[in-house]
Amino acid sequence: MSTLVYLEHAGGEIDEPSLQALTLARAVAGGNMVAAVVACNSLLQAPSDALAGHGVSVVHVAEGETFESYAPRAVAEAIVELARRVGATAVVGPGTERGNEVFAHVAALLDLPFAANCVTAATSEDGADVTRVRWGGSLLEVARVHAPTTLLTVQPHAVAIETTADAAPEVEAFAPQLSDAARALRVVDRVGASTGGISLADAKVVVSGGRGAGSADGFGMIEELAALLGAAVGCSRAVTMAGWRPHTDQVGQTGTKIAPDLYIACGISGATQHLAGCKGAKRILAINTDPEAPILASADYAVIGDMHEIVPALTAAIRAAKSA
């Protein structure tokens, strides 16, 4: 029985979703050490020290020039080759967009089931029992994976990282056999973001408007408040569907998922679609005419009333406080 964990990294730095995947993978492995696999074009970039204290016995580094840019099928073929070699009974990875993409390729190559975005997992008689996320986190599914090798990814920021007393793992390089299809499927170019200003995904404060804004013009006051707070402007899906704001402003399950210190939701009722995008906020302030709006059950603070009156008053009060 052996568990293999795919780790995403940038120049040797391992991101949190991959460390969270390691924690859940050790649970699947019954507390035993796990093997890890990363892909890079040069061994120099391989992480080892960063993996001390995460229960990794050996980190297998898939090397090759194909990995110079992101190549999802090539990474998948490297994982498949290694999983066969070590006799993996479970392969675990981060449930990021790219982690899920790589695992779908692995699943297709092996013709095995794949459970995406799990929050719990344990081995069972013929595979694993998992709990996985649906509806962007608004619903959970208890499921059974029937397979000789369990493939699963771990929902980001749903599992607390647990560390161990282990030293940094050994590093073993290998050059996987890649198909022509795998070598051909890779990023060929990159363009920078064209939009200036504060990015929604990274903003410390986000001020959003919903249907309650009433029109595209209703966002004038939201932009003013946001500018005063150094915040990014967001919106609900109803707003983008109405054509009041571009989709790049949309917070939600099918928009941007945000994690600010403060989220100010103006005239947003709190549909599951929207809450799936803002549940990462540390604090939520809701401004809403309806004291029964669903968003109040997810918010920390609320002001009841018309955003068209409250937002300008709040902007004036903050301005006064700043100049005092």
Binding site: V142, A302, I318
Partner: protein, 254 residues
């Protein structure tokens, strides 16, 4: 150019999800249904490709008899015809879904030639399995790019733009290809009344494939417990502003 858009019928959940008594599904008696949002953009892109290049657009779903509503919706927007893989409403797992779609694609292509592009959503709104498009691409022996916010056919290739932190990364796939797209790719059009009438007369081919046993077997659904939060009401109307400023100062935002 022949283009396929694969879609899924999903409920519009609104503010709070309620489950059926057996916890096998969402209680949908009071809910409307829609095409999963990412896939709406796949439908729109398929229509635009055919508008620009000529040819034929097709929409496909695997779902209950009621899912004909979503196929007609897509045809009302301009898709030429539909393929309905009719189920009894039970959920199919991702492998079974992909296999049924592959069979349907092969059947259609044997009759009227290959699809240059097959569109999927990056993940469905409801089950969110992130894998159908990739499985279908492997089975058909075609390249696949996922999570796309830009799709441009240029000659015999499709240029694909994937949104990543701080920018976009590009892939170039030879046709025929499979792409999975995300909301924001385009702004889907709304149906017209004549479009809705035309959709009722457009061809719809239905068949009822047998459901294999699930290898990713749903046992039950659970509504996650809320964080037990109930917002502290800081006030009503403009009078609340000073109190809000106090709170913002406490948490260090002002």
């Amino acid at each position: 150019m022949k283009v396929l858009a694969c879609v899924k019928r999903v409920p519009m959940t609104g503010g709070r999800i309620v489950l059926t008594d057996d916890a096998q599904a969402i209680e949908t008696r009071h809910l409307g249904f829609t095409i999963s949002p990412h896939e709406e953009c796949g439908v729109e892109e398929a229509i635009r490709l055919v508008e620009a290049n000529g040819g034929e657009s097709v929409v496909l779903t695997l779902g209950s008899a009621e899912a004909e509503e979503q196929l007609r919706d897509a045809m009302a927007l301009g898709v030429d015809r539909a393929i309905h893989l009719v189920t009894d409403g039970e959920e199919w797992d991702p492998q079974a879904t992909a296999a049924a779609i592959v069979d349907a694609v092969r059947t259609d292509e044997a009759e009227s030639g290959p699809f240059d592009v097959v569109f999927f959503g990056n993940e469905s709104a409801d089950s969110g399995n992130y894998q159908i498009g990739i499985r279908v691409a492997h089975a058909l022996g075609r390249p696949v790019a996922t999570g796309l916010k830009g799709v441009a056919v240029e000659g015999s290739t499709v240029r694909c733009e994937q949104e990543v932190a701080g920018g976009r990364e590009l892939y170039e796939l030879p046709l025929p290809a499979v792409v999975t797209v995300k909301e924001g790719l385009n702004f889907p059009r709304f149906p017209s009344v004549p479009g809705r009438l035309r959709a009722q007369r457009k061809p719809l081919a239905s068949s009822a494939p047998a459901r294999p046993s699930s290898r990713l077997e749903k046992l039950r659904l659970v509504v996650p417990e809320g964080e037990g939060k109930q917002a502290e009401v800081l006030g009503h109307g403009t009078d609340a502003a000073p109190r809000v400023v106090e709170v913002l100062q406490q948490i260090g935002v002002v």
